[in-house]
């Protein structure tokens, strides 16, 4: 299952292009409209990282942990079915042991609060994440300086951070580098920018930025909308 999952992971879009992931201190963002599957796609990437024995912190802004747990369970179930395998307790255990969900509801999210929680995790559990997923943060109201602080955090933790960003149908304009709202003003902060969008023929993941390397930009892969694995091999 691990082999199948890794070989058809949406992150292959990066490996094909630049042959590497974000690496420690790197930040990536997945842009999509509401309801397209940002959280599920981000969780697929998280599962990829967990399979590689990375420690993952999933930060959910606005949704309680129950819902995120359920997302992980459902997606893993879809993957197990897609791989025509039996549910594997060891995989489940790997996920549970190496993943912690930090959830912030009722406008409770602030970076200093996240930092304090990560400190607590390190101190009390000796748990230091290799990858952070920040899902549901409002990019429209987040000042660029906050992303700088996230970058500092990523460097301190020697971790990579993946964000999800909500785009809008009615705000279709892109900047000169082809990056859409709401990342058009802060695209320099991210080494990788992915765009998830439904098109005729399916759900596509498009690589808008791949580090300093332009060769991979524009590449797109079709994703299976139930598993978020690459559909066309």
């Amino acid at each position: 299952m691990k082999t199948i999952l890794l070989s058809r992971s949406p992150l292959r879009i990066l490996e094909r292009a630049s042959g590497e992931s974000l690496g420690p201190g790197g930040m990536g963002v997945l842009i999509a409209r509401a309801g397209v599957g940002k959280t599920a796609c981000l969780i697929n990437i998280a599962l990829h990282k967990l399979m590689e024995n990375f420690k993952v912190v999933h930060v959910s802004v606005g949704e309680g942990p129950e819902k995120i747990h359920a997302y992980y369970r459902v997606l893993l179930n879809e993957l197990v079915n897609a791989c025509k395998m039996k549910e594997d307790d060891d995989v489940q255990q790997l996920l549970e042991n190496n993943r912690i969900i930090l959830s912030y509801v009722n406008k409770s999210f602030e970076l200093p609060r996240l930092r304090a929680q990560l400190d607590n995790l390190k101190e009390a559990l000796n748990f230091s994440p290799d990858v952070l997923f920040v899902d549901g943060m409002d990019f429209e109201s987040t000042a660029p300086a906050v992303f700088k602080d996230f970058e500092t955090l990523a460097l301190e933790l020697k971790a990579e951070i993946w964000f999800s960003a909500l785009s809008h149908r009615h705000m279709a304009e892109v900047n000169e580098r082809g990056i859409p709202y709401p990342c058009d003003k802060v695209d320099h902060m991210f080494s990788v920018i992915l765009h998830l969008q439904p098109e005729e023929g399916g759900l596509y993941l498009k690589l808008l930025k791949d580090g300093e390397n332009d060769s991979g930009s524009g590449r797109k892969v079709r994703l299976d909308p139930s598993t978020f694995m690459i559909a066309d091999g």
Binding site: G64, E96, I100, I101, S103, N106, A116, Q117, A124
Partner: protein
């Protein structure tokens, strides 16, 4: 939908111990003419307040068990559910919260928002209960109702809005200014029963106007009509009330009242608040599970014409028999009607139907959706759902988790023994997670439940309510044994002791079963074991599950396949094959790599965020695995899975770590293998203990 439902209110009165909850309830019953004299909680007259119907409550001045009482105010029917203020009695709290549609949160004007107010408020949040606040004890020295109103925002994350301001302060408090009518209210007469409306005292006119502005600002967020009226400076009382009501029901606004229940100031305004701002049963969504459709969720309609769905939320023993409190969610109950209990399918005839007023009662002919009534002589369990038989709904999931902790109870004398039997019989009916049995080996009576606190509450009740003095053993974790490998068996049971002998051979294999306790597969071909003996083989294997060969705990998750055997035309019998199965199991069990399993609990600890590090540390120390945290305003909930064996004494430890500001809930999650490093030590200890018990 009946018009009557709009004038019904099912409310709880909930607060920190000693903030005057019972006194307020007493006053409410007096003003609504349900009682004709008032008593104090620790009554000098030896009568005690009416709502505390259990002796223990009267003695301690606290409320443990929730009683429901009916009263009427301003053309509305109000059922007051008196809820426990002590955090440990969670089963009672959860049941009471389940049946109430709104609540009055009482705060002490001196002590302010205390940790238990926080806990109670959090519980209400979980059940999405809209509430109004009453700041009590405003007559006391050091009272500062405005500061406490501010704490509702800072400590509880409410959006409080003052509905009144006090006239006078501390022991000179005379009344309140109502910011809706902009009148001064005084509570005159010997018991404050005469409400007098006067003009606002001159020195408070400006302050009242400013606070009313704040009230209108806050409420206009919920009503365009109010916003327009405010712009035109033409706000009517009804428009303002409607807007506050909307905000309260959506739990985005908390109207704040103030006064002193003890000095009879402001209680009638709380009643007005209940009627004006808290929802009727028609405004609250309730769901049931359709047992006929795989427990699909069904939204109930508070319509008397629909099929009956009612929940038994409390049982009480009275001198006249068992009294069952029911909340009717849909349909109606009439005297003489037949009802069915969803759990058992049992038919019940409605005999005496009463409306309760704590220890007194009023006979009624029928009750409709939204109402709370009590029935006499109904043999049921607490939490049972009643229907008219045309639907098969349950208000709660039918899943009852297995108890995970047990302890022995030994009565000290014959009287206690009889009383203990009565108590245990009662508790098992009230609470499906509380179980009791007699241990065959030691002869001890064992009680078991879902946690240490859970059993503590029942032990205390046994002593106080049933006068049963018992000696308890140490709490025991319900370990299990399970196999992890596959192993084959081929066993022949042969016995010749004169007369007809016994002969039976069984062969096959055992292997782990993913889900469930036990599965028996018969793959015997060609009659190697005659068909009539197969059930005996199954029975023989099944009898081995009660006690595993590793330490002696029950076995779970085993699949046994029998594929061969042999019978003798004369000596084979059901007994012989049953014995053969037992022998086969004993011979193969240790070869299938058995392990010890321990109950793992899903633990959620809610605490102010500043204690999050301490809480996480305390969980890690207990072999716990943190799965998530949730930050909500000033609070953090840490969710973790922790072995039950490590949770003894956690409540005390947590209190000391967090200055008593944290609360935790614990429920059974699953069984998991005890880590190798601990298993050997544990096995040795358990074996020694088992030997000791036999001696």
């Amino acid at each position: 939908m009946s018009e009557g439902i709009k004038v019904k209110r099912n409310i709880g009165i909930s607060a920190h111990i000693d903030s005057g909850k019972t006194t307020l309830t007493e006053r409410i019953l007096f003003y609504t003419k349900r009682i004709h004299a008032m008593h104090e909680v620790r009554g000098k007259d030896g009568v005690g307040a009416t709502m505390d119907s259990m002796e223990l409550e009267r003695e301690r001045g606290i409320t443990i068990s929730s009683a429901a009482t009916h009263c009427e105010w301003a053309g509305h029917q109000i059922n007051v559910i008196d809820t426990p203020g002590h955090v440990d009695f969670t089963i009672e709290v959860e049941r009471a919260l389940r049946v109430m549609d709104g609540a009055v949160l009482i705060l002490c004007a001196v002590a302010g928002v205390q940790s238990q107010s926080i806990t109670v408020d959090r519980q209400m949040n979980r059940y999405k209960v809209p509430r109004i606040a009453f700041i009590n004890k405003c007559d006391r020295s050091g009272a500062d109702p405005l500061k406490v109103a501010g704490q509702l925002r800072s400590k509880l994350n409410h959006n409080p809005v003052l509905m009144q301001i006090p006239i006078g302060s501390e022991n000179t408090m005379k009344g309140v200014v109502d910011l809706v009518s902009m009148k001064a209210l005084y509570f005159e007469g010997s018991s404050g029963e005469t409400l007098t409306l006067k003009d606002i005292p001159g020195e408070l006119v400006e302050k009242a106007a400013a606070r009313r502005e704040e009230l209108i600002d806050a409420a206009s967020m919920f009503s365009d009509e109010l916003m327009e009226a405010a712009l035109e400076d033409h706000v009517t009382e009804q428009v303002l009330i409607d807007a506050v009501r909307k905000g309260t029901i959506s739990r985005e606004l908390t109207p704040v009242f103030m006064g002193s229940a003890y000095k009879n100031i402001g209680v009638q305004c709380v009643l007005d608040g209940v009627v004006r701002y808290l929802p009727s049963p028609a405004e609250v969504e309730n769901v049931a599970f359709d047992l006929a459709a795989d427990e699909t969720e069904i939204v109930l309609e508070p319509d008397p014409e629909k099929p009956l769905v009612a929940l038994a939320f409390k049982l009480e023993v009275t001198p006249y028999g068992q009294l069952t409190y029911l909340r009717i969610y849909q349909g109606r109950i009439k005297k003489g009607d037949d009802m069915f209990i969803s759990r058992s399918g049992k038919k019940i005839k409605v005999g005496r139907l009463v409306r309760m007023h704590a220890d007194e009662m009023e006979e009624i002919e029928q009750a409709e959706a939204g109402g709370i009534v009590a029935l006499f002589g109904v043999d049921c369990h607490s939490g049972d759902t009643f229907t008219d038989g045309s639907v098969n709904y349950s208000m709660s999931s039918m899943f009852v988790p297995e108890p995970v902790i047990s302890l022995s109870v030994t009565p000290v004398d014959t009287k206690s023994q009889n009383n203990m039997a009565k108590a245990l019989n009662r508790f098992t009916k009230e609470d499906p997670t509380f179980k009791t049995y007699v241990d065959n080996e030691s002869g001890d009576t064992i009680i078991s439940g879902m946690g240490e606190l859970h059993l503590d509450v029942y032990l205390e009740r046994m002593k106080r309510e049933f006068k049963a003095t018992v000696v308890t053993g140490m709490p025991q974790v319900a370990y299990r044994e399970a196999i992890t490998g596959k192993a084959s068996f081929d066993y022949t049971h042969k016995k010749q002791t004169g007369g007809s002998g016994q002969f039976g051979r069984v062969a096959g294999f055992i292997e782990p079963l993913d889900e469930g306790v036990y599965e028996f597969i018969n793959e015997v071909k060609g009659g190697a074991i005659p068909t009539e003996f197969i059930p005996a083989v199954d029975k023989g294997f099944r009898s081995c599950l009660d006690k595993g060969g590793l330490v002696g705990y029950p076995i779970t998750g085993v699949k046994i396949t029998v594929n061969d055997g042999k019978a003798h035309s004369v000596d084979s019998s059901e007994m012989a094959f049953s014995q053969a199965a037992v022998g086969a199991f004993r011979s193969v069990y240790m070869k299938a790599a058995p392990v010890l399993l321990e109950p793992i609990m899903r633990v959620a600890v809610e605490s102010p965020t500043e204690f999050q590090g301490n809480v996480m540390g305390s969980i890690t120390q207990r072999r716990g695995m943190i799965t998530s945290t949730m930050e909500d305003g000033l609070f953090t909930t840490v969710e973790a899975e922790v072995p039950l064996a490590e949770m003894f004494g956690y409540a005390t430890h947590l209190r000391s770590l967090t200055q008593g500001k944290a609360e935790f809930t614990m429920e059974f999650s699953r069984y998991a293998k005890v880590p190798e490093s601990l298993a050997e030590e544990l096995k040795t200890r358990l074996r020694e203990k088992a030997k000791g018990e036999k001696k």
